[in-house]
Amino acid sequence: MKKIPRQHMPEQDPKERIHNFEEVALGFTAELAQLEAERCLNCPRPFCVEGCPVNIKIPNFIQLIKAGKFKEAVMKIKEDNFLPAICGRVCPQESQCEAKCVVGIKGEPVAIGRLERFVADWEYEHGVEVPELPPPNGHRVAIVGSGPAGISCSVDLAKMGYEVTIFEALHEPGGVLTYGIPPFRLPRKVLKNELEFVQKLGVKIVTDAVVGYLYTIDDLFKEGYEAVFIAVGAGTPRFMGIEGENLIGVYSASEFLTRINLMHAHEFPEYDTPIQLGKRVIVVGGGNVAMDAARTALRIGAGEVVVVYRRSRKEMPARLEEIGHAEEEGVKFEFLVNPVRFIGDENGWLRGVELIKMELGEPDESGRRRPVPIEGSNFIMDIDNAIIAIGQASQPIVAQTTPGLELNKRGYVIADEETGQTTREGVFAGGDIVTGAATVISAMGAGRKAAKAIHEYITKKN
């Protein structure tokens, strides 16, 4: 049999796409998808399934694609993952399912993520069926935060007959999917579809509701909710704590992306929210957030965008595909350097940055080699903006206002890995607020586990 190569997914030309916010990757056609599906060996012991944080039955859905049964394929995925159109686009498959794919040992792994995305999109084109819901069971559950963890928990509970209300602090639901991940990676239409589906199941989403201030967790119980799921994410931006970080022109990646994705600052003055972007921009960090900030900066008119990362390319935590996309679009990279101070003018505007060169030493707790500054290697770069993308910390408001809710040393909510049970009765938690900044799929998985545990808890209690 002739060996079929891994099918390439059509993409927008980099020269075109740096001028728009349309999706970069265009998706498989049915033919390409079926051809790619042929490559799956349908292993009796599928390692890919072990690599998936929610153990999607990968070979099964791929066999269904091969047979042209797209509807059945997507239903197979949805047994384990509610958000295939989103996960197919943003999961780090190369370090999860595809990393374990047997085909990948000698060649390139089966394009599992692209296939997942294909069938999910196919379903939307052909109309998503809203499942028949059981009669309301008379129990109410409150969910705090409308990111992937909150959404998935709400869907499972709604399907079991619960009356579910999601409280969201911002004016739009979706969490990081709305304000963080840019539309050229995750088109807003895809997100809107998912959120509409959630509401079709009868889930109520209340925006502008900062739990902790507007309602405490205790208030929610008093209002008749029998359980609460905390899914507030890890949205607090980290700064480096170096000189000049409050100069005008230094943004956290969260602020930068929020101004664009949530507030449409790139459409100023049609939209009222402004942004100050100059010609030369550095982005500090090496993860997905850094890639998103860099590519966004290019699209809204920065002349030159340089990602500065303190380790080497090999240690970059960003998805490979996104690093590749960033490079194609003209983002530059400076490895093994770290800012030591920002330099401003007399009016407080950022003008430059002093960087120091680094080398890799012994591996640290994360197993990656620790970057060590090389003394005397400092140099200065002229810049107009710096976007800090070195990570996020936990969102503290709920914890501060909920007596009895214990946190770990790093400030995240302590919760059982299997059930999401916290140190407060009836209070469950999952997603980034428990694990620290992680992935969409793991947040989704945590939401589903919590839904199951909440169901057991309420059933037992009554």
Binding site: A169, L170, H171, Y179, T207, D208, A209, V210, Y213, L214, Y215, G235, T236, P237, F239, G241, E245, N246, I248, Y251, S252, S254, E255, T258, R259, M263, H264, F268, P269, E270, Y271, D272, T273, P274, Q276, N347, G348, Q395, P396, I397
Partner: protein, 279 residues
């Protein structure tokens, strides 16, 4: 949607809105603020909670029309609705128990911001509440009656001397200090420069001084860092760590610089809007 139940025009550019937001009203405390967005394409701006009525379910905001968003807000009438109204945000204002002689200083739209504090302290039965309010001239003095009924003493400063002492609120404050009055704490809300001068006035006498900062905000929930200020050499997020801070520790100059960050854009936005309104 949040309905404007009552509107008053306090001066040519200061408006007073009572807004129906029952859940916010249930929870609001002095010192907190809301973030509002008027329409789909609007920006999110913070405004202090100037009063609340838990029974009627209303929140009072008083704002000065200085740019596009506040001017647009000022054109809304009773019965109109605001798209988003998030709150109550920030850490409520709190004084130590043993504090009895309190000076509250409000400048411009800082006056409505100190009003709920005065009201709460007055109700608590503090020994002496002295309020000092300042404005450019007599016509710009707002909420005078409310301030009068919630202070033991109301002192006024106007730039042109059309009412009260001619000079700044700090002139009046310095007089109190010179007279040797008992002053346990000073709370100042107003333009950044005013708060800076108040802190400068009290520093030599070690009078504890609280100020409510007004940096540029986006979410108001600690998620972006737009509102970062330097207090005691440390970076704080004014929306969740404040907005009230120790005035002797705040880097006011940095705050003033950061607040000018978007002036060019703000001008464009305002001019465009004014053209639109004229049409």
């Amino acid at each position: 949607m949040y309905k404007i139940l009552e509107k008053r025009v306090l001066s040519s550019d200061i408006k007073w809105f009572n807004i129906y937001a029952p859940q916010v009203a249930k929870k609001a405390k002095a010192g907190q603020f809301v973030v509002l967005r008027i329409h789909e394409k609007g920006e999110r701006i913070p405004l202090t909670i100037a009063d609340y009525d838990r029974e009627k379910g209303t929140i009072l905001i008083v704002f000065q029309e200085i740019g596009k968003t506040t001017k647009l807000l000022g054109t809304l009438e009773e019965g109109d609705e605001i798209l988003d109204f998030v709150g109550p945000l920030g850490i409520p204002f709190k004084l130590e128990e043993n504090v009895e002689n309190v000076v509250l200083i409000g400048g411009g739209v800082g006056i409505p911001a100190i009003y709920p504090k005065a009201k709460e302290l007055y109700k608590e039965g503090k020994k002496r509440i002295i309020s000092i309010v300042g404005a450019r001239n007599k016509d710009l003095l707002i909420m005078r009656e409310e301030m009068e009924t919630s202070s033991h003493e109301l002192l006024i400063a106007t730039d042109d001397g059309s009412e009260g002492t001619k000079g700044f609120v700090t002139t009046v404050l310095q007089n109190l200090i010179d007279e040797g009055r008992d002053l346990d704490v000073v709370i100042a809300v107003g333009p950044t420069i005013m708060m800076k001068m108040v802190a400068k006035t009290t520093r030599p006498y070690n009078i504890p001084t609280l100020v409510s900062l007004n940096p540029i905000m986006v979410d108001g929930t600690g998620m972006c860092g737009s509102c970062r200020v330097t207090v005691g050499g440390q970076v704080k997020f004014a929306c969740v760590d404040g907005p009230i801070f120790d005035g002797h520790e705040v880097d006011f100059d940095e705050l003033m610089r950061r607040n000018k960050m978007y002036v060019d854009k703000e001008r464009v936005s305002l001019e465009l809007w004014e053209k639109e309104v004229q049409r």
